[in-house]
């Protein structure tokens, strides 16, 4: 069990800056993020795009801002659980919380700060009947352990980079790989696309173009997948696995089940301290909502400063909080 003062869900810019504001008040932080790296959407989606409305930076690249934030919070030694999603939240008798992640990591914290941005990036699912019945029973949206597919029949669906890359990779270990793609061409990296066409021409994989998945069949475990081409001709392929790779889409995820007041996928907060309706749980940044809310990084920074001052009373119930400037006191690491 990891023990900390504040557990921050979401390691985007606002989650990271919360570590700094908490650190000034001697509160330790542990961050959890569903993505395998810090930075949230800045690192995941637009690392090289410029941002123009960070005070003091006329222009800064998204990844550069994340790198600078990591440097800024270094003195406070935050700890991280990356590539994990918080699934459960259990309130303890003393008011604190124990969080459990998708990898069964447990974190004990006095205060929870949800800085989840757009939510968790979850795989987009094709609209197919019985899809849920085969999830984990032949259908997987992510290749975590390629060995799972050794000597198995695998169908991949999609046309992006990950569909191309995994097709190439799995063609070396699976018994049979079939890639189903809606179009005639691929928008992924040209090199990868060329390689996939090569593999198909050499009979190493089956490439089925201009086709859409239509039906899943199986008895308990997936056994076959049907698809239709543009001429509406249906074909069925026997398989052990189907890996749909249709990109990621932000979803609120398990946060929606924690008894928080939610409005249109955002968490309602009290603007005097950005607390939610559940005591000791705060929400900052893009994931919260209130009257006149602006989804700006700079507003999230402001929210985390106010929020940390409010959270102090739960971490140090017997101490009085005195406000100090970093210019006067410096940044005292721990």
């Amino acid at each position: 069990m990891i023990t900390t003062d504040i557990c921050i869900i979401g390691a985007g810019p606002v989650g990271l800056f919360t570590v700094f504001e908490a650190g000034l008040l001697k509160m330790r932080c542990h961050l959890i993020d569903a993505l395998p790296q810090v930075g949230g959407q800045l690192s995941e989606i637009y690392p090289q795009k410029p941002i123009y409305d960070i005070p003091g930076y006329p222009e800064v690249k998204a990844q550069e801002l994340v790198d600078n934030l990591m440097k800024q919070i270094e003195p406070f030694n935050p700890t991280f659980s990356l590539g994990e999603r918080v699934d459960f939240l259990a309130k303890q008798d003393d008011g604190s919380f124990v969080l459990t992640t998708s990898d069964k990591t447990k974190v004990h914290a006095q205060v929870i700060v949800i800085a989840g941005g757009l939510g968790c990036f979850e795989p987009r699912k094709p609209v197919l009947e019985n899809l849920e019945n085969f999830e984990g029973k032949g259908i997987t949206y992510m290749v975590k352990d390629p060995e799972q597919f050794r000597d198995k029949k695998v169908i991949l669906a999609g046309g992006g980079d990950s569909a191309l890359d995994w097709t190439i990779y799995l063609s070396q270990i699976a018994e049979k790989v079939t890639l189903v793609h809606r179009n005639e061409t691929f928008r992924g990296a040209p090199d990868s696309a060329a390689k996939v066409f090569d593999l198909a021409n050499n009979g190493k994989i089956d490439l089925i173009l201009s086709s859409n998945l239509t039906k899943l069949s199986g008895n308990g475990h997936l056994q076959s997948v049907s698809m239709k081409n543009k001429a509406k001709e249906e074909s069925t392929i026997e398989t052990d696995y189907l890996i749909p790779l249709f990109g990621l889409s932000p979803k609120l995820g398990p946060i929606a089940d924690w008894g928080l007041n939610i409005d249109k996928n955002a968490i309602e907060v009290d603007t005097t301290d950005y607390s939610t309706n559940v005591e000791r749980i705060y929400a900052v940044g893009d994931i919260n909502t209130y009257e006149n809310k602006l989804k700006l990084i700079l507003c999230g920074f402001h929210e985390s400063a106010i929020m940390c001052h409010s959270a102090f009373k739960y971490v140090y119930p017997d101490q009085k909080l005195s406000f100090k400037y970093t210019t006067v006191n410096g940044v005292n690491s721990f």
């Binding site: 959407q41 989606i45 637009y46 757009l118 939510g119 987009r124 699912k125 094709p126 609209v127 999609g158 046309g159 992006g160 809606r182 179009n183 928008r187 749909p244 249709f246 990109g247 889409s249 932000p250 249109k264 996928n265 989804k295």
Partner: protein, 106 residues
């Protein structure tokens, strides 16, 4: 002002009037008109929750950018008429166009 039609998830079609000189996107107008468009990413062509089909008037919209096409291409469901509403600028070119909501419902 420009007037175009919007068909919701239930197939109801309504005319929408919008100012064509404020640099608005179709996504913003749809949200302001209380259509169930999530627009989670705020208009950066990142989430595809504002996916629409252009049933009529595609010529006036200009080409989709690479970023937009990448998103559309990744969707499990994509049509020749698919666009992201956040990437469509409201201009007089939209007069008489017809859009059908496709993105995930709230």
């Amino acid at each position: 002002m420009v007037t175009f039609e919007v068909e919701d998830h239930d197939g109801n079609r309504q005319p929408i009037e919008a100012p064509d000189d404020m640099g608005l996107s179709l996504m913003e107008v749809l949200k302001a008109s209380e259509y169930p468009v999530l627009a989670t990413c705020g208009g950066m062509a990142l989430c595809a929750t504002c996916h629409v089909e252009v049933l009529d008037g595609k010529e006036g919209l200009g080409e989709a950018t690479d970023v937009e096409l990448d998103q559309l291409e990744a969707l499990p469901e994509m049509f020749d008429t698919s666009r992201l509403a956040c990437q469509i600028r409201i201009s007089d070119q939209l007069e008489g166009a017809i859009f059908k909501l496709r993105g995930e419902d709230q």
